[in-house]
């Protein structure tokens, strides 16, 4: 057929715009990140190759280990909390028929807004004379310094991100729940299984792949936290919220130490890669 001969050229032409965009703005910077981490690139654009000096500096950098710990602690609070809220609301939405559409919409609403908006509103909610402390004062409690106390600030930030983001995971889990044939659960009911046994023995095992998918997505997003930190705490108090991405921003756009900031970026890349590879391994095992 004649038109098949035109395919190589037209196919390439149709891909061309995306190809050019990807080569310049995704692939080149990805390689560039690795390259820059081996230089002392600065604001003036001057650079020398300094080998692995940046990585050696990273290992000696107290702030780097601190930020890794902050990011890890944040994830350990955020991921289970968001999984719990998302799974809980998904299970409720799957059970309750009464005004289900309205409740689903209300729970999903924060997802369509920005982390910046969430940060601005919750900064006021957490303030000394803000919403929560105002309510606490009415029952003679508080005030709690949510954003000024290093032990409280990370969970406080995690709550904001959970509030803003759980609607997405809730919808994915709800779709997973709907895919479980109701005949399985009915049969178990007939066998005398109570609600907890049905959940533990049927729902949970069948929902496992969905839960795993959501777990990976949420872990990666926990490692990428930046917006709420920038808006609400600026990395403080005393670097208690100095996350990995905040470190990249701080070294890149406050100290203009581009080479070293790129090295921090490589660590983020490594972390996300490891999480993705673990996911792939588990999925492969699930298929065989």
């Amino acid at each position: 057929m004649r038109h098949r001969l035109r395919d190589p050229v037209t196919g390439l032409l149709f891909v061309l715009p995306v190809l050019v965009l990807f080569l310049i703005f995704r692939i080149f910077p990805s390689l560039g990140a690795a390259g820059m981490s081996l230089t002392n690139w600065n604001i003036g654009g001057e650079w020398d190759i300094i080998g692995v000096d940046n990585y050696a500096r990273l290992l000696d950098d107290v702030n780097f280990w601190l930020s890794l710990r902050v990011t890890l602690v944040y994830s350990v609070v955020y991921v289970p909390l968001t999984m719990l809220v998302a799974l809980g609301t998904a299970l409720l939405l799957n059970q309750v028929v009464f005004m289900r559409g309205l409740f689903r919409g209300m729970l999903f609403l924060p997802y369509v807004t920005s982390f910046v908006l969430a940060g601005i509103v919750w900064r006021w909610i957490y303030e000394y004379n803000g919403l929560i402390n105002g309510l606490l004062a009415k029952v003679d409690l508080g005030p709690v310094a949510f954003l000024e106390e290093s032990g409280v600030v990370l969970p406080a930030l995690a709550v904001v991100s959970v509030w803003k983001g759980f609607g997405y995971s809730m919808l994915i889990l709800l779709a997973g729940l709907k895919a479980i044939p109701s005949s399985y659960l009915e049969a178990a009911t007939v066998d005398g299984a109570n609600a907890w046994q049905r959940f533990r023995r049927i729902t949970l095992p069948l929902l496992k792949p969905t839960i795993f998918f959501v777990l990976v997505i949420e872990t990666i997003s926990a490692f990428q936290t930046f917006d709420t930190v920038y808006v609400m705490t600026g990395g403080g108090p005393a670097r208690a919220t100095y996350t990995l991405i905040y470190g990249i921003y701080d070294h890149g756009f406050r100290s203009f130490d581009f080479g070293y900031a790129a090295t921090w970026g490589m660590v983020l890349f490594a972390v996300v890669l490891v999480v993705s590879l673990i996911q792939r391994r588990f999925l492969d095992r699930g298929n065989t």
Partner: protein
């Protein structure tokens, strides 16, 4: 599972359906009440934001007391501030230009990846997918240095163009077009239609539902985007709304004005939400777009 549907005695089988016919307040009302409570808690920050935004400036408001009267003064004040209007305009440009270009380029590439044979097709496609594994923040510095060396900092092209390489969009379009039968495209080509005509009159109309979904997501991604606009938009001329909002500080401005700014900034998201909620919900469940 040892029990099958067929082996169940008829008398017992009636049980679940009778339970389903019970009115809601007898069966699951505690669960419904819990769900209602969680839903109200979830929207309460928005409600509080709107109440403060509509309260007279400088007077005590929630949570100390309910405002005695509501006013639109804060909203009109925000809308008459030139900074805020510029940021809104910039956000609209950032979002709408990105939507148009991403829909166009990703549907073209998706069509080629799904239905055309050309050398390097598979390698190219999988390379695109592999870039999904590289988080944008990890390449923030080199991307900024690149845009800076092309004099793109604080310009609209510098803001928009680097965000147009979107692998999620290409992947989604390719998967969707892969599911369309070849005959649809071949018939038109036998009739002598040019490739561009096939794309314009067949591919685009057939992919309308997925383009609409993708368009909504791209709009939200860009309207809510922060880190890239923050580093590249260094003056009000290119600053987007999210970046502009972070320059407002409670120390320097009334809380009611700050909340009014936040409230106005969220209106497009709320519009998308109220008009397209069903659409958004279904596409997240089906495609996992985030």
């Amino acid at each position: 599972m040892t029990i099958t549907t067929a082996s169940r005695p008829p008398s017992v089988r009636a049980e679940p359906s009778r339970a389903a016919r019970r009115p809601w307040w007898r069966g699951r009302w505690p669960l419904a009440a819990l769900l209602a409570l969680l839903s109200v808690l979830t929207v309460s920050p928005f409600v509080a934001m709107f109440i403060v935004a509509l309260s007279p400036a400088g007077r005590p408001t929630v949570p100390a007391r309910w405002p005695e009267s509501l006013t639109l003064d804060n909203i009109t004040m925000v809308l008459s501030s030139s900074g805020f209007v510029t940021w809104t305009f910039n956000s609209l440009i950032y979002a709408f230009v990105s939507v148009v270009i991403i829909l166009l380029t990703s549907s073209m590439a998706g069509y080629a990846f799904a239905k055309k044979r050309f050398p390097g097709r598979e390698a190219m496609f999988w390379t695109f997918l592999a870039t999904m594994m590289v988080p944008f923040q990890a390449t923030l510095i080199p991307t900024f240095v690149l845009v800076n060396s092309l004099d793109g900092v604080d310009t609209f092209w510098g803001l928009i163009v680097p965000t147009l390489a979107n692998s999620q969009a290409v992947f989604l379009m390719r998967q969707f077009i892969l599911g369309l039968p070849d005959e649809l495209f071949d018939a038109a080509k036998v009739d002598g239609a040019s490739e561009w005509r096939v794309y314009w009159t067949i591919v685009l109309p057939l992919t309308k539902p997925i383009l609409a979904t993708l368009g909504v997501f791209v709009f939200l991604w860009h309207w809510n985007d922060f880190l890239w606009p923050l580093v590249v938009g260094q003056s009000d001329a290119t600053r987007t709304l999210t970046v502009g909002l972070t320059t407002l500080r409670t120390e320097e401005m009334q809380l009611s004005l700050l909340m009014a700014s936040a409230a106005v900034s969220v209106v497009p998201c709320l519009l998308v939400f109220f008009l397209l909620q069903r659409y958004l919900v279904n596409s997240i469940a089906m495609t996992g777009l985030k």
